[in-house]
């Protein structure tokens, strides 16, 4: 029964193919098979959001998906949003506004926030708080996370206006 299956994932624009047991959780396939360690394991019980990735356009807790379900999917993790030399505007703003302390929740938080801003480029503070309600932070008290996301939104919007 522990038959392995062929799994194909496109992660951050790169195709990967590997063998895995269907029951393997997506988070472990990403971290242990593909060495993509941005998404973290916080609770492993679908509550904290540290493992959030974007999968076929949805924010998904990758601890609550079997790798078999993800077979064929396109996935974006924090590694696909920005790099140390070219930070994503959200990363820039988290740095600027102290949107992190220990940083454990940050990859999930920013990956979720990126999707939120894609769907709602001009959120109110309340909409930001509601939109990141699936991501728990033990350190910041959220105030600076919300500030960082709102600031990133206005930066993205001014850049869009300037381009027009």
């Amino acid at each position: 029964m522990s038959n392995k299956m062929h799994v194909k994932l496109n992660v951050n624009g790169t195709d990967h193919e590997f063998l895995a047991e269907p029951r393997e959780l997506l988070i472990y396939a990403l971290r242990e098979k593909l060495n993509i360690t941005g998404p973290h394991v916080g609770c492993e019980t679908s509550h904290c959001g540290a493992c959030t990735v974007t999968l076929n356009g949805k924010s998904v807790k990758s601890c609550t998906m079997f790798v078999a379900q993800a077979n064929g999917a396109e996935i974006t993790t924090i590694e696909g949003l920005g790099s140390p030399d070219a930070l994503h505007v959200l990363q820039e703003n988290f740095k600027e506004h102290h949107g992190l302390q220990c940083g454990f929740c940050t990859p999930g938080m920013i990956t979720r926030a990126a999707k939120l801003l894609e769907e709602n480029p001009n959120p109110t503070e309340e909409e930001v708080r509601f939109g990141i309600a699936g991501n728990i932070c033990r350190c910041t008290g959220y105030q600076n996370i919300v500030k960082s996301i709102l600031s990133a939104a206005s930066e993205l919007n001014s850049a869009k206006e300037a381009a027009q």
């Binding site: 269907p22 019980t45 609550t64 979720r112 509601f130």
Partner: protein
Amino acid sequence: MIPAAFEYYRPTSMEGVLALLQEHGDEARVLAGGHSLIPMMKLRMADVPHLIDLQGIAGLSGITIDGGTIRIGTMTTQHDIIGDAALTAAAPIMAEAALQIADPQVRYMGTVGGNVANGDPGNDMPGLMQCLDAHFHLIGPEGERTVAARDFYDSAYMTAREDDEVLTAITFAVPVGGHAYEKQKRKIGDYATAAAAVQISKEGGKVAAASIAMTNLSDTPVWSEAAGAALVGTDCGADAIKAAVAAMLADIDPTEDNRGPVAFKRHVAGIVLGRAIARAWSRA
């Protein structure tokens, strides 16, 4: 948190799903969004040797409104419901309830069909479906049949669905009048301590019809005919609300758990229902 091993299938037709269900009997289960089933498998509270993923089957998601009937495909997610402007115009209680389920990530994955088929008394959609007098469409080896939401739930996790049947859609008439979905929970992402779904229609300043159901206060959702009847013909004032709440409290049967003792749950149920009735009436 590693579930027992299983065989994974992703059939591309309903015939394929039904054949697998017949072949493997109660060793097989379908997987929708997985956000109830996977946590249970990780805890090894559910053992599913044959897991049949429905994601490969075309036509199981989508919302249509036609001739006064709303049809929601089983694989439609809570996120889809919240984003559907036509549904929100026709039946605003759907989005109001969906927004109170879990958190954004869970809502992208959690499906309407999974929520109603699951049979967990904590799920929000079953009570809502009873309030709306929805019908569940099932397909199995004997063909298709329809079961009323009000007849679907026998006890926790026990429903009218046979093991070899698959839910394909839910339907209900476009509701009339005012609505409210009111939920008390300890935090975002928690199941209800108590929740109420209410639809009320008004005629000449009086309640013409009322449908009321509550969630997580019994081992099934509770649609209380008496609670609705207590409002009909009244001006929906304090006395009428009190009578409706009393009728509902006679129909629920909460048990003590980590959300509180029985007395507390009954208290919360009364507050939640009172608020829901007042809000639905204000919109009727």
